[in-house]
Amino acid sequence: MEPRMKVLSEPEMLKIDQASRAVLKEIGTLADNEEALDLFNQAGAHVDPKKKLVKIPDHIINDTLSKCSSCVNLYDRAGDTPLIIGGDRVYFGTVGIATNVLDFETNQYRQVICDDFVDIVRLSDVLNPPDFILVPATPTDVPTKIVDTIETKLMLLNTQKHFIAEAQNAVNYKKNVAMAVEVAGSLEKLQERPFFSTLVTLSSPLHFRDDGVELIVESSKLGLPLFIESGPMCGGTSPATLASTLIMANAELLSSFVLAKTVNPEVPLIYASWARILDMRAATCSHGGPEFPLLRMGTTQMAKYYGLPSGGGGILADTKSIDVQLGMEKLGTGLLPALAETNMISGMGLFADENAISLETLIIDYEVTGWIKRVLQGITVNDYTTDLSVFKEVGPGGDFVSSPHTMENFKKEMFLPGCMDRGFLRLDKDQEEKSMRKRARKLYTKAMATYTPPDLPEDIESKLDAIVNQ
């Protein structure tokens, strides 16, 4: 069997569902945006224009869910086979609002610049996973007003993989689309095989901001996929129980889905969450403790409860250096959501409490995902894997290393690490020589040697620049 794990029972999910619906119906959500109020009104919700409060009755939630697909196809630019987001599939991706990078050469923190962004995107392009690239960092050497469009431009120029873009408003979203259309050839081609999605981060508690509304509306109009995530902080922007934090995340996501589906019932939506805790000592949100993966498993189960594709944060770390804590946090927050079958686990490369990224951590996370993927495969027990003929062939006292059976199977059955150190303790050698960090660096050089830039139309860069600077 393939090992899988749940944290909520059916009755518990029903309880979260009922509570979320009650929150939306009785308490409501704030929508500080005229267009959102109009749309909720159009959907049949009870809108108080003065208080800007929207109360959503149950039947609208049901109606919205009936318009949702159980899977979303995310295309890349290379081929016809999309990532099918939904069901039991587990994919890993980058993420990063980080503005700091732990420099590969100096091992010192400094601000992210566009060159770092390109390096990270290219490394993400050659490693597998990441299966998709969620904006992996925020360059600080470009004007803040257009940084999102520059990120999109750099992703278009440097990777074939599906990417999730961010945009701070409708204007920049439209620029993102215009650039993607330039690369795709036409809007129709982009709509047919969308090679980028858009990230929407909802604000907690229960509050629609202008930017979120604008992105939901504009992307829905075009039918381009949305990765909508809700990230309430347990004890900060949601009540101090994990269950209530699930209710908060769920209610916020359901209300955003109502908005999107009112604009366009066909818009592909991914139910994603970053629900976390507020660390009561440091007063920051923590992404590396046990609550984070528990919440991710919970939000994933709620997505599955409604038959929706799921995603959210995972493989994350609070630690500020590449150390023991990093390994512990990355594996814990990556493995558990994977066991719950979170379809899109985003976090590769990011650490330092969401504030930093590095090429090294991206490679280490690549190793972590390999480890996790092997666990997901479980132990295959069938006639082939239990065949006694190899026992007979080698016999008691024999050697299985040289058996053809080993040659046939070892790569299928075993995780073959790229940078974990497994050698013998050699007291005559430098113990750091083969340390994970050193090996990660070696792997970087090797991986990057295989990088080829995507095929792009001629003069594309100047065309994209013109769009960015419009």
Binding site: D399, V401, S402, F410, K411, L416, F424, L425, D428
Partner: protein, 218 residues
């Protein structure tokens, strides 16, 4: 096709661990008039050494190294048997190998046996947990040029020293080159116990053996 091209193709076939391709390239080389000895020494064994390097660099895996070793052994055997007695390919020397007393590990030792055999040595493998007396007796009987002592445990390493001491006492140490190896064994340990050579892995064992044989004939 030039001699070098023929040899390069053979080397490439070994690196790819492709039995079919290796047969074809050897046939082509023989057709082109290459000397079988040259095919062995400058073709297949060079390829195997490169495979050994790839293994040491963690580019390929243990079963692949074993398969390459088997492939090359078979190729060498075929090349040898294809010719009349006066044209046989002479062995580089006799290599006796054992895992020392108290130690039952044999994966590394088997690998060394295989790669040494594939590299042109006449290999006598005494197995694992072999007593010092048995090793010395075999040395006296077979009079090999080389002895390999494997030890996978730090607790059995002293047995390597014991063997060397006993060989001296029995008066058979002088014309014998002893190479020690195994995970906990180091160059410093080899020197301390009076071994002639140390090998960290199977392909290193071949290099070390070749070097010692050269010294012997010089």
């Amino acid at each position: 096709m030039s001699t070098n091209e023929n040899l390069s193709r053979i080397i490439e076939a070994v690196i790819k661990i492709d039995a079919g391709l290796l047969d074809t390239t050897i046939d082509d080389a023989l057709q082109a008039g290459l000397d079988p000895l040259m095919i062995v020494n400058e073709g297949v064994t060079v390829g195997l050494r490169q495979v050994g390097d790839l293994f040491a660099e963690e580019e390929i895996f243990l079963p692949e190294l074993v398969q390459a070793g088997r492939l090359v052994s078979k190729a060498v055997e075929n090349l040898t048997s294809a010719f009349s007695e006066e044209k046989t390919i002479a062995k580089k020397g006799t290599f006796l190998i054992a895992t020392v007393k108290g130690d039952v590990h044999d994966i590394g030792k088997n690998l060394v046996s295989l790669i040494m055999a594939a590299s042109g040595y006449d290999v006598v493998d005494l197995g694992t947990d072999v007593s010092t007396d048995d090793i010395v007796e075999k040395i006296t009987e077979l009079n090999p040029q080389l002895l390999g002592l494997s030890s996978l445990l730090s607790t059995t390493m002293p047995a390597q020293r014991e063997v060397i001491q006993t060989l001296i006492e029995a008066g058979v140490r002088d014309h014998l080159h002893v190479i020690v190896g195994g995970a906990p064994v180091t160059q410093a340990w080899a020197q301390e116990i009076g071994a002639d050579g140390y090998a960290e892995n199977a392909s290193q064992a071949v290099l070390e053996a070749d070097l010692l044989m050269k010294q012997m004939t010089a």
